[in-house]
Symmetry: C2
Subunit: 213 residues, 2 copies
């Protein structure tokens, strides 16, 4: 398959640049989280609530926003007075390490503890690209259905932990947290799961405690 | 950018094969719909309800199911006794015309009126690949948020019409049908929109009438 060969050529320099990003972040003592999930899974809303609560607790944060186009999400984050760099991929379906390396130059790495990288809304392609992050999470909203971990096992297998979002909508869906948990455990034994609702605050305490650790 | 050059090499034969698929479908008088949307936007549930209602009305259908892995969706559809071919892309983030050409060989084209092609759950990549379909639709669930047409304008611009799904969850979300409609009208003037709920049946009549036209 021609496509596979080409992907490898593209991925190799990406891995090298990602390692450079990882070293740079470690040198500055910054924990960087690569957030991946479908369009509309609630990444930006979760980020807004998380940043607000972390700022109140004295944790200094920054954000890299990946989008195909528009700066809507970055505008939402900037209104919280958190340093934010927008990357527009102009149709590209994922962030890559080179784009993140460029964004890191514009962020005050000495002044922050936590960097959130919101990837392009896409459950498939971003999981194949190391950005040099410390950890990678997948945000799965209950409205997407509990069959998604099995259907996208290759994606979920790359995650360090999973956030199950929009928990407030659980009563209105067929989503089974038990099934999702059992399937994720089979795909990646021991994987941590944070079920939460950024809207009601349900489950946010455990998530924020973990981030502050 | 190396990536762009490679994509073009891959896309050119795709367009040729897609044209072949389009001719084959037209020769058999089959209307083929390429259904694109985020993971969990409700494509399969909408298909199940649609197929059941069309079968009752004497319309003969078939389905091509695109998934990264598993045959869960195809199994759901097959239980309705509709001819179904599963394509597993093994990690590939979209269907391509060659895969569809292979699937068409296994379908009874002389016996069907309507072919539904459920693409891989992904709002970005599938929109760049012509499969030879008659029309292309994007399924957008209200839980994804009304900002998605603007954020993924390049994707929505390729759609012949848009299905706004999970209308039953509208009261539990901030989704504004008016905003989505206005933004879609700006992106693609005159574009048709079907707001519906496969669960409650709300809006299904209009959608089925259009399919039966």
């Amino acid at each position: 398959m021609v496509e596979v060969r080409l992907d490898r050529n593209v991925l190799e320099p990406n891995a090298r640049i990602a390692e450079g990003n990882r070293r740079l972040l470690a040198d500055h003592g910054v924990f960087a989280l690569n957030m991946i999930g479908s369009p509309g899974c609630g990444k930006t809303t979760l980020l807004e609530t998380t940043l607000r609560r972390l700022t109140e607790a004295g944790v200094r944060t920054a954000v890299i926003e990946g989008d195909l186009e528009t700066s809507r999400d970055a505008d939402r984050i900037r209104s919280l007075r958190v340093p934010t760099v927008q990357i527009n991929t102009r149709g590209g379906c994922h962030l890559d390490a080179r784009q993140v390396a460029g964004a890191l130059k514009d962020l005050p790495l000495d002044d922050i503890h936590l960097l959130f990288i919101e990837n392009v809304g896409n459950l498939v392609c971003p999981t194949a690209y190391d950005l040099g992050e410390t950890e990678k999470t997948i945000v799965l909203s209950v409205t997407e259905g509990h069959d998604k971990p099995v259907k996208y096992a290759g994606a979920f297998d790359t995650a360090d932990f999973v956030i199950v979002s929009k928990l407030d909508l659980l009563p209105h869906t067929d989503f089974s947290l038990e099934t999702a948990r059992a399937d994720l455990e089979r795909i990646k034994p021991g994987i941590r799961i944070f079920p939460l609702s950024a809207r009601t605050g349900d489950g946010m305490g455990q998530w924020l405690d973990w981030l502050r650790r």
